[in-house]
């Protein structure tokens, strides 16, 4: 595989995580538990979709086949999406949404910090800009984990259940494959083992304050990065891609 092709696939993974999670969060708008949460959720969604657009712009350039960010977002099907399974999980209740966000943010932050030093200047630039936003995301989701864990009995139970439910999807965040390895060796991609260490420390610290129990590392689900997805992604894409698919000749 050529270097550009590798970079293209690597950048798509970054793009698709942000796009799919941004899309999920946007489903909350108008339905959040408080007005302040309407704003915060919209804000995080906006950041992530903005980041996805930057990554997709670059991916389209690397691919060099005349596609652009919108073609990549709206005209790829499930098999060609490379997001992790975690971000395509349904919103569930607010505890599930917050737990998904926390696991992702706590991974996203050290990942972007490393990528901000990437040998690929475009990747470094997008990562540095995104890291500023994600610093806010991780602070917010950590605070909610603590509020829920150390809130009422009900909120504690709900967030512990959410954590247990999502834990098997966290392994994929750090399970490197040949592509991750090649990009790391080329000085372009991140060292996922180091990201995992930081993620794990954040989880321990926040869970301690939240009085939550960290689940055992058992079997971990994976496949999303390679295009093997859950049943959820197809519905998400059907909704997201409807207009450009129904009117392929239209500009919007």
């Amino acid at each position: 595989m050529s270097d550009d092709r590798n970079r293209y696939l690597y950048v798509l993974r970054l793009a698709d995580n942000a796009l799919v999670l941004g899309q999920r969060l946007s489903e909350w708008i108008g339905h959040a538990p408080a007005l302040e949460e309407e704003m915060a959720t919209a804000n995080v969604s906006l950041d992530l979709i903005g980041q996805a657009k930057s990554w997709l712009d670059y991916a389209a350039e690397l691919e060099g086949e005349g596609r652009d960010a919108d073609t990549l977002a709206f005209h790829r099907d499930v098999l060609d999406f490379h997001n992790t399974l975690l971000v395509e999980q349904p919103n569930g209740d607010y505890a599930l949404t917050i737990a998904r966000q926390f696991f992702f943010d706590a991974f996203h932050m050290p990942l972007l910090e490393q990528l901000a030093r990437s040998g690929d200047p475009r990747i470094a630039e997008i990562a540095a800009k995104s890291a500023k936003e994600v610093g806010y995301h991780v602070r917010r989701s950590s605070e909610w984990i603590i509020r829920f864990g150390d809130g009422t009995d009900e909120s504690h139970q709900r967030v512990q259940a959410a954590v247990d439910r999502l834990w098997p999807f966290t392994g994929e965040l750090f399970s490197g494959d040949g592509l991750d390895e090649a990009m790391r060796e080329a000085g372009i991609g991140a060292d996922l083992a180091a990201v995992r260490e930081q993620w794990s420390a954040t989880v321990d610290e926040v869970f301690a304050e939240a009085t939550l129990t960290r689940p055992e590392d058992g079997w971990m689900q994976s496949g999303g990065k390679q295009g093997e997805h859950s049943e959820h992604l197809g519905y998400l894409l059907a909704e997201m891609q409807f207009l450009p698919r129904a009117y392929p000749d239209a500009r919007w």
Partner: protein, 330 residues
């Protein structure tokens, strides 16, 4: 926008000579364009009128998130999705400013929100119409936000300071949204035959409901007269409606779209467009809860609120625990 009629509690508007004492001093201050601030004395009816109007306005921002929110997950490209997300986020922010402004008058945000969920408080009738196509998002930005701006710019000089200041900020953002809505319509009306059809149908559906946003005609509106004497309002409903029509018709022409009013015609003598009769039966029906989406809108908001109760309770419980620990440590 978004306060189509507000009961001022008045049967007739007294002149300043008929007033005495504090009421008279208050009216003189208003007449001299001195802004009224939260700690100033004000007539109880002025206070109540403003609470009604500002809370209706706040509720409209919040309920107004739903028809547009309906298309966020389906926006046709990334740029449109980002713009729509930012817009709906702004609306939540406008709701927050306005609840804060209402609180300066001694109202509690919680009571106002409860009234909305119980179906007792009003919000703009416009948000009881559905958004079946993407073009509706363009039409809302262009027409609904356009009508809101015509209504709100004079409110920037409203006699009550906190409301006027909130409006300055809101108007800046609304103008931006309106241009973006018009841009969606422009893209559609320059697009494929299917897109043009979408745009025309959206205009057909939103035109009359937008004219209704300005409220009942002046002949039916003693409350408007009182609001004008208090300088909460600066222009009558019909004046603002006319201003909106005069500025919007050329925009429709530029899009190559037809306004769904056979009586619409330029009048050389008056220098304004004449227009057909508004269906006031429909207006009152929507206001009374019989519009296409009234039940759905209030139910959606109530469900969001009820489902979120445990989240708000958790936040409160955690804040209490922290405060108790801080006291203990001190």
């Amino acid at each position: 926008m978004y306060s189509q009629f507000v009961d001022t509690g008045s049967k007739k508007v007294p002149s300043v000579e008929d007033l005495e004492g504090l009421e008279r001093e208050f009216q003189q201050r208003v007449d001299e364009e001195i802004t009224i601030e939260p700690r100033d004395w004000m007539p109880e009816k002025y206070r109540q009128t403003l609470i009604r109007q500002i809370s209706q306005h706040a509720h409209s921002e919040i309920v107004g998130m739903l028809p547009e929110g309906n298309w966020i997950t389906r926006a046709p490209n990334l740029r449109r999705k980002l713009i729509l997300l930012a817009k709906v986020q702004d609306e939540a922010g406008h709701g927050l400013y306005l609840y804060s402004a209402a609180e300066t008058l001694g109202a509690a945000r919680q009571d106002l929100i409860d009234a909305l969920h119980e179906g007792k408080a009003k919000y703009s009738s416009i948000f009881n119409y559905p958004t079946p196509t993407w073009a509706d998002i363009g039409a809302i930005g262009w027409l609904v936000d356009g009508a809101a701006i015509v209504n709100q710019i004079p409110l920037c000089r409203c006699s009550y300071g906190p409301y006027a200041r909130a409006m300055v900020r809101v108007c800046k953002e609304e103008s931006f949204h309106q241009r973006q809505g018009y841009e969606i319509m422009l893209e559609l009306s320059r697009g494929t035959a299917e897109q043009k059809r979408m745009a025309q149908e959206a205009l057909n559906r939103w035109w009359w409901p937008c004219l209704m946003m300005f409220g009942p005609s002046d002949a039916d509106s003693v409350h408007s007269q009182q609001s004008m004497a208090w300088k909460i309002k600066r222009h009558t409903n019909d004046e603002l409606r006319q201003r909106f029509i005069d500025q919007t018709v050329p925009q429709a022409k530029y899009l190559g779209l037809t306004i769904p009013d056979p009586d619409l015609e330029w009048n050389e003598e008056t220098g304004h467009y004449d227009y057909g009769e508004i269906d006031w039966d429909e207006f009152w029906n929507v206001v009374k809860g019989n519009g296409p989406c009234n039940r759905e809108r209030v139910e959606t908001r109530r469900r969001a609120y009820d489902d979120g109760a445990w989240v708000r309770e958790a936040a409160q419980a955690h804040a209490d625990k922290r405060a108790a620990r801080a006291r203990h440590a001190a």
